[in-house]
C-alpha cells in the first residue's frame, strides 16, 4: 500500500490506486488467456481430426479416397469421397444461386433505394431470419418445399438436393444481405454525391460507384455464405437423404460431407473400424475446405481494401 506524506504530516492510504496498478498488470494476462481459448480449441480440433484421420489414410489408399465409389458398410467397403464432395458442392451451389442475387438485391434496395425509416424497419426483420434454428429449415424443406416442388417436377425424389439447396439459400440470404448492406452503407456519402452530381441515375450510383467501392465487404459476405452452406448440416441431413451414388441429378437424394458425419456418428460405425475413422477424414477435409474459404475471403478483402484505400 502506498502511503503519502502530506503537508499536514498525516498519512493517507489510497488503496484504490495500488489495486488499480495490479489490475493493470493482471488484466492483459487474463485477456491473453481468454484470447488463447479459441486458438487452443482450434488446435485441439485439428490435432484430434488429424490423428484419427491419419489412421484412416494409413489403411485406405488415396486412389480409393478420390474415387466415386462410396460404400462404407459393404462387406468389402469402399471409401470414395467424391460423392460427398459432389453433394456438398451441389447443395451449396444451389443455395448460393438463391442467396447471392436475392441477398445482394436486398442489400442494394436497403442501402440505395429506400429511406432510412424503411431500412430501420426491414433490416432487423431480415436478420431475424438468420436466427431461425436450422432444424426448422430442414423440416420445412422436407415436409413443405419438397412436396410443393414435386407438383412442378413429378420426377423429384422425396429426398433430393434441390429442395434443401433452395431452403439453405433462403437461410443464407440474411448473411449476404446484412453484410453487403453494411459494406455499402460504409461507402462515404461524398462518393454518392460526386456520382449524382455527374448526372448518374440511382442505378448507376448503386452499380458503378457504391458496389465497386463496397466490393471487399460484398465478396466477404459471399464467402461467408458459402462457408455456411458447406458447413450446414441439419437441412441437408433431413431433406437430401443419404444416397451415396455419384451423380449430378439434383432431383435425387445425395449425401453431403456433413450429412455423412451425422449418419455415422449416430451409430452405424463401430469404434475402431475404418468406417469410424473415415468420419475424421471427412471432418478434416471439411475443415480444410472452410479454412481455404476463409483464407480466400481474407485475401480478397485485403486486396480490395488496398485498392479502395
Amino acid at each position: 500500500m502506498a502511503i503519502l506524506h502530506t503537508s499536514t504530516g498525516k498519512h493517507h492510504r489510497i488503496p484504490s490506486v495500488t489495486r488499480g496498478r495490479k489490475l493493470d498488470r493482471l488484466m492483459p494476462l487474463v485477456l491473453l488467456v481468454a484470447s488463447m481459448v479459441p486458438i487452443l480449441t482450434t488446435f485441439g480440433i485439428v490435432i484430434t481430426l488429424a490423428a484419427d484421420a491419419w489412421r484412416f489414410f494409413a489403411v485406405v489408399p488415396l486412389s480409393e479416397v478420390f474415387s466415386t465409389e462410396l460404400a462404407p458398410l459393404r462387406a468389402e467397403p469402399s471409401f470414395g469421397i467424391l460423392p460427398l464432395v459432389n453433394g456438398t458442392v451441389l447443395t451449396s451451389l444451389i443455395a448460393m444461386l438463391v442467396a447471392i442475387p436475392v441477398g445482394l438485391g436486398t442489400a442494394l434496395y436497403l442501402s440505395e433505394f429506400t429511406s432510412n425509416r424503411v431500412r430501420k424497419i426491414i433490416k432487423p426483420i431480415i436478420e431475424v431470419i438468420a436466427g431461425v434454428p436450422t432444424i426448422v429449415y430442414g423440416y420445412f424443406a422436407y415436409s413443405f418445399v419438397t412436396p410443393l416442388l414435386i407438383k412442378l417436377l413429378p420426377g423429384l425424389g422425396a429426398k433430393n438436393v434441390l429442395s434443401p439447396g433452395l431452403v439453405m439459400g433462403v437461410m443464407i440470404i440474411p448473411i449476404v444481405a446484412s453484410l453487403s448492406e453494411d459494406a455499402m452503407n460504409a461507402v462515404q456519402g461524398s462518393l454518392r454525391e460526386g456520382a449524382y452530381a455527374l448526372g448518374s441515375t440511382r442505378f448507376e450510383v448503386a452499380g458503378k460507384v457504391v458496389m465497386p467501392a463496397a466490393m471487399s465487404g460484398i465478396i466477404a459476405s459471399f464467402v461467408l455464405g458459402i462457408s455456411r452452406a458447406v458447413g450446414e448440416t441439419m437441412i441437408v441431413s433431413i431433406a437430401s437423404g443419404s444416397s451415396k451414388r455419384f451423380s449430378f441429378d439434383i432431383t435425387q437424394s445425395m449425401q453431403t460431407m456433413t450429412g455423412y458425419i451425422v449418419e455415422f456418428t449416430s451409430g452405424d460405425a463401430a469404434s475402431g473400424t475404418t468406417g469410424y475413422y473415415s468420419l475424421y477424414a471427412v471432418g478434416l477435409l471439411l475443415f480444410i475446405f472452410t479454412l481455404i474459404l476463409n483464407l480466400v475471403s481474407q485475401a480478397i478483402t485485403r486486396r480490395f481494401r488496398l485498392r479502395a484505400g
Partner: protein, 256 residues
C-alpha cells in the same frame, strides 16, 4: 442593383428552401451571368451551400427538403416535374469542399461521366480524358499515371481530378463549394488560375470563405446572411464600397 446584368444564365425567383421545419433560404432573388465567376460569401451556416445545391437539385437527395419559388436556367424552370434531373446535373458540374475521387484509376474517374452518358468508344474516351486533364491543369502530373488509383494522388491533385471529372461531361455551368479550402496555397493558386481560364467557356458559381480569393477572381459577389442575399454587386464595387453595413462588417472580419 448598381450595375445592370447582361446575359443572365441562372435566375432565382423567390427561392425558399426548408429542411423540415427550418427555413434555410428565404425568398432569394439572384441573377447569375453567363461565363463569369460569381462568388457567394457569408458567415458559416447562412445557406451558401444550400443555395448552390438548389441549382443542380442536389437537395433532392436529402430527406425532408422542400423548395419553393423558381430556379430558371437558360429560362427553364429546373424544378418543373418534367425535368430530367440526371440530364440537368450533367449540364451543371459540381466540385465539393473535400476532394471525392472514386476509388478507381485516374482514367476511370474521368471516363465515368462520359460512360454513363453513353460514350463507349475507346478512342473518344481517351480523347476526353486527355482534354479534361489538360483543362484542369493536371495532365503533366498524371500523364504517366492514368492507371494508378486516384486515391494515391495528393489532395490538390485529387481536387483538380474532380474538376477534370466534372469537365469531362461538358457542362455549361460549374458549381464550386469551398473547393480550395482544404488545399495548400500552391494548389489553391493553380485552381484559381484555372477558374480564370475556364470562365471563358463556363459559368462559374463558387462558394468561398476566402475574401482575397473572392476579390481576386470573381466578377460578381453575393453576400448571404441568415438565408437571405443582403447584397449583390460587381466584386470590385462590393469590396470597395459596400452598401450594407453588415457587408462591411463581414468583409472586415467583424462578423462571422
Amino acid at each position: 442593383m448598381a450595375d445592370k446584368l447582361q446575359n443572365i444564365q441562372i435566375r432565382t425567383e423567390a427561392l425558399s428552401l426548408h429542411y423540415g421545419a427550418f427555413q434555410a433560404l428565404k425568398e432569394v432573388d439572384l441573377d447569375i451571368p453567363a461565363r463569369r465567376i460569381t462568388a457567394l460569401i457569408g458567415p458559416s451556416g447562412c445557406g451558401k451551400s444550400t443555395f448552390l445545391k438548389t441549382l443542380n437539385r442536389m437537395n433532392d437527395l436529402i430527406e425532408g427538403v422542400r423548395v419553393s419559388g423558381k430556379v430558371l436556367i437558360d429560362g427553364e424552370d429546373i424544378y418543373d416535374p418534367a425535368v430530367d434531373v440526371p440530364l440537368l446535373r450533367k449540364k451543371i458540374g459540381m466540385v465539393f469542399q473535400k476532394p471525392n475521387p472514386f476509388p478507381m484509376t485516374v482514367y476511370d474517374n474521368i471516363a465515368y461521366g462520359p460512360r454513363i452518358h453513353g460514350i463507349r468508344n475507346r478512342r473518344d474516351l481517351d480523347e476526353i480524358v486527355v482534354r479534361s486533364l489538360k483543362d484542369a491543369a493536371l495532365w503533366p502530373e498524371v500523364k504517366d499515371r492514368l492507371k494508378t488509383n486516384a486515391l494515391d494522388l495528393s489532395g490538390g491533385q485529387q481536387q483538380r481530378l474532380c474538376i477534370a471529372r466534372a469537365l469531362a461531361v461538358e457542362p455549361e455551368i460549374l458549381l464550386l463549394d469551398e473547393s480550395t479550402s482544404a488545399l495548400d496555397p500552391a494548389s489553391t493558386s493553380k485552381i484559381e488560375d484555372l477558374m480564370t481560364q475556364l470562365k471563358a467557356r463556363y459559368t462559374i458559381v463558387m462558394v468561398t470563405h476566402n475574401m482575397q480569393q473572392a476579390a481576386r477572381i470573381s466578377d460578381w459577389t453575393a453576400v448571404f446572411m441568415l438565408g437571405e442575399v443582403i447584397e449583390y454587386n460587381r466584386t470590385g464595387q462590393l469590396f470597395n464600397q459596400p452598401r450594407e453595413q453588415q457587408t462591411e462588417a463581414y468583409l472586415t472580419g467583424r462578423f462571422g
